[in-house]
């Protein structure tokens, strides 16, 4: 399924704008639940953009893992702690907030300037979208590479996940040692 270039652009801008707006929603919302749901929207927008960039596999993972797993985790924790969540305001002084906003904006401006002035690498790879199609599609290609070239990071992520599991279990185990 190939969208015409113009349409791609339009979708991209729509999703991007939405994404940015909801991202702002994440950081500006007083209620964590609202933030969490804004985040879900952001994830969807990003996933849509992935899809627009022909990264279908990633788009799917984005929705599955992020929107599905991570967000559930977040919401779960929010619920768990819900009873006692106070201080839902933005916190810190206005000056501090304003200052950080200015800092972020300034850095963003620099980044954007750098992005505009910079160029991506001149020598491109051979995996053009046509080639990918000819090789059996995005998922096929990615899996090929992942289990050959990228076997180390793949294995490593498994260990990472194990660490995450062990870690969170170790931290959240019910039985607490005596308070000191």
């Amino acid at each position: 399924m190939e969208l015409p270039t113009g349409a791609t652009d339009i979708f991209f801008y729509i999703f991007s704008t939405l994404g940015v707006l909801f991202a702002l929603g994440v950081v500006l919302n007083k209620n964590p639940i609202a933030s969490a749901f804004s985040l879900v929207v952001v994830f969807f927008c990003v996933a849509a953009n992935y899809a627009l960039m022909h990264a279908h596999f990633i788009a799917a993972i984005q929705i599955l893992v992020y929107a599905g797993a991570i967000m559930v985790l977040f919401v779960f924790v929010i619920m768990l702690l819900n009873a006692d969540i106070k201080n839902l305001d933005l916190g810190k002084s206005k000056l501090f907030q304003g200052g950080s906003a200015v800092l972020c904006a300034a850095l963003l401006a620099m980044f954007v300037w750098a992005a505009k002035n910079g160029t991506t690498a001149v020598t491109k790879g051979e995996l053009s979208s046509e080639k990918i199609e000819s090789l059996g599609g995005n998922v096929q290609v990615l899996s090929m590479i992942m289990f050959s070239d990228y076997v180390l990071p793949f294995e490593l992520t498994s260990i990472l996940l194990l660490v995450g599991i062990v870690g969170s279990v170790a931290l959240a185990k019910r039985k607490l040692e005596q308070k000191q």
């Binding site: 791609t8 991202a23 702002l24 985040l39 924790v77 800092l103 790879g125 080639k131």
Partner: protein, 99 residues
Amino acid sequence: MTTTTSLVFAMCLFFIGLFGVLARRNILIIMMSIELMLNAANVAFVAFAKDLQDAGGQLAVFFIITVAAAEAAVGLGLLIALFRNLKSVSTEDIQLLKE
């Protein structure tokens, strides 16, 4: 949709996330902001992968999502541990260690 515009989108997400880390007191929201930042990097990876006609970027995103998941799990675990002791998730309440 050019690489640059995608990049700008990514950067916007990135700095919104960063702002969240700076400005919010609620650690949960700070964690979400961090997720935003990671997403921003992912967007950049995918955009570059497309531009460069390379699969490496997309694969990186795959791994990063995994990392994000593990990180979120541990982070939330830490948060719960803290909450048990402190009954708070505000950064203002974790200023015992200083100077």
